[in-house]
Symmetry: C2
Subunit: 325 residues, 2 copies
């Protein structure tokens, strides 16, 4: 299953989102226009696709869905800009980050601008419930990221804490995407909750796979360096499993206990962690956990009317656990 | 005229804002709670007072005004947190900044959280027009701050550019405060525009005085070091006038042309700029410009019914140009 096929039924509406986003870049202030053009190109558009698809079961009202899908994509982009600034990341989607080109300060202000723009689009739906959902989601995302800063380089973390963190930093935006589509289609409350639950579980599975790819992928496929979670002191599921299996001689432990390690030595440790994960059954186990979340996501869909769009949402769960970038 | 007297008529409602803000700090996540408690204490509350006062002419509906006044204060605080992070400021309101205590990264995320919280309160008004106003205001503020980064250390700036910048970074929030109060009180459109115009002009006057105080005040009064605008390469009205009057031997020029100057030498130049401003009629001229904006603010009020609250709004213009911190 390719994304193209998944998107088939919402292809035209995703093109409309792209036009809306292009219009966002057209501002008089040239410095800002340049930053916006740099950051608003590309992206997989999976979140706006989820908003459109989640609205297909009931009253599909494009005038309300289009601003919401645009809002979801802009909010996602805003969080990436701030994440990269905070992590001092230099590459994203195969291109230099805003902070690496224009400095952290401008990245912070650009992110603020995009949050506001995303909020304005949410308000354009004319629906206060989705505006509140938008504001609450941004609170969850930012406090999730804040938790990550408190947990950084901490080797003693429960698996619950990991799931709590990724629920905040990734799944909240997925569930906002599906829930808002459901709300705007005037779905019954039970269906709204089902689609919200689908989004949450799908988002957790998506993030687990993301965390695995940080070990198993290549920089060319990822569009950013591999091993960056370890470098930033973020303990993800593969790293947790590696710590459990090799409690004594463990490169993750060495990395987290020696934060001032020279760059060359650090890279050797990261490489070793990647090799150890590759040689173990950790990757398999992580995919199993991700698949369990996808199962739960699919179960939530059972409440909804059987239809081609329900089939598409099921296919997205397959895509999420099979993707390589 | 003291702030206490100005606030008399909205004192109880400002105390309610304080309670709402205290409730914001009560979150389970202890790290976040600590950051929120640190930043959400203090503050002059001039912006929420403006929201309440602007609503007094028509239908004063506290259920809608209270969340808006809270939103205005939270949005103001969020922008301060990001500003301090960007400027690497270490002191604000006489206390260490969030970035100086917990690092720039957490300051960015805390600001994001506060933006979202402020947005949620705006949505609680149940009024989509003020939600859109909120989102647009944050766009104006962040692009105003972004303009400031592009203009930093640039000696060739027109006075228009200065007014454009302060309209964005300060006056937008003042006019949102007054406009939102007017909207929520169901004022006629002409009155909404009058109160919005009052807020804009008052905000510009407020910022001009802020820029003067950066030269003429003391660290104890300001709650932050004097001369910080010059240190950050921000060309304000007093510095512009100093450049016009002393085009040859000028410490501002030396500071902006030698960004890598040693700290001790820099402090000597800043001190000299402060002394030169103090000895000239520049301060007087700046206050004259600020007073002109206050005149314009007062003119806007003429359209509104003569009443005690209109008198209070006039008194605020006097307070703004007479304040010392």
């Amino acid at each position: 299953m390719q994304l193209d096929q998944i998107y088939q039924s919402v292809k035209e509406d995703l093109a409309r989102v792209e036009s809306q986003i292009k219009a966002v870049t057209e501002v008089d202030f040239r410095g800002l226009a340049e930053l916006l053009r740099h950051i608003l190109l590309g992206g997989k558009a999976i979140r706006p696709a989820l908003t459109f698809l989640s609205a297909r079961f009931y009253n599909y009202d494009l005038d309300r869905l289009l601003p919401m899908a645009t809002s979801v994509e802009l909010l996602h982009t805003a969080t990436l800009v701030h994440d990269d600034a905070i992590d001092n990341s230099s590459v994203r989607r195969g291109r230099p980050t805003v902070n690496s080109l224009w400095g952290e300060d401008r990245a912070v202000l650009l992110g603020d601008y995009l949050f506001a723009k995303a909020g304005e689009f949410a308000a354009l739906t004319g629906n206060l419930r989705v505006v509140r959902l938008f504001a609450q989601t941004l609170q969850i995302i930012s406090s999730g990221e804040l938790k990550q800063t408190f947990d950084a380089f901490n080797l003693e973390q429960s698996r619950d804490r990991y799931f709590e963190r990724i629920a905040g930093k990734t799944a909240a935006l997925f569930s906002m995407s599906t829930e808002s589509g459901a709300i705007l289609s005037q779905a019954p409350e039970a269906s709204i909750q089902a689609l919200k639950g689908y989004g949450t579980n799908l988002g957790i599975a998506f993030q687990i796979v993301d965390d695995v790819l940080d070990f198993t992928s290549t920089e060319a496929e990822l569009g950013k360096p591999v091993g960056s979670d370890l470098a930033q002191g973020t303990l993800t599921l593969p790293a947790m499993l590696l710590l459990e299996r090799y409690p004594d001689d463990n490169p993750v432990k060495e990395l987290f206990n020696n934060r001032d390690m020279a760059e060359a030595a650090r890279q050797v440790k990261v490489k070793r962690a990647i090799d150890m994960v590759a040689k173990s059954s950790i990757v398999e186990e992580c995919y199993r956990v991700a698949s369990d979340y996808c199962d739960q996501a699919r179960q939530k869909l059972e409440l909804l009317p059987a239809s081609p769009v329900r089939k598409t949402l099921v296919e997205i769960t397959d895509f999420v656990v099979n993707r390589r970038s």
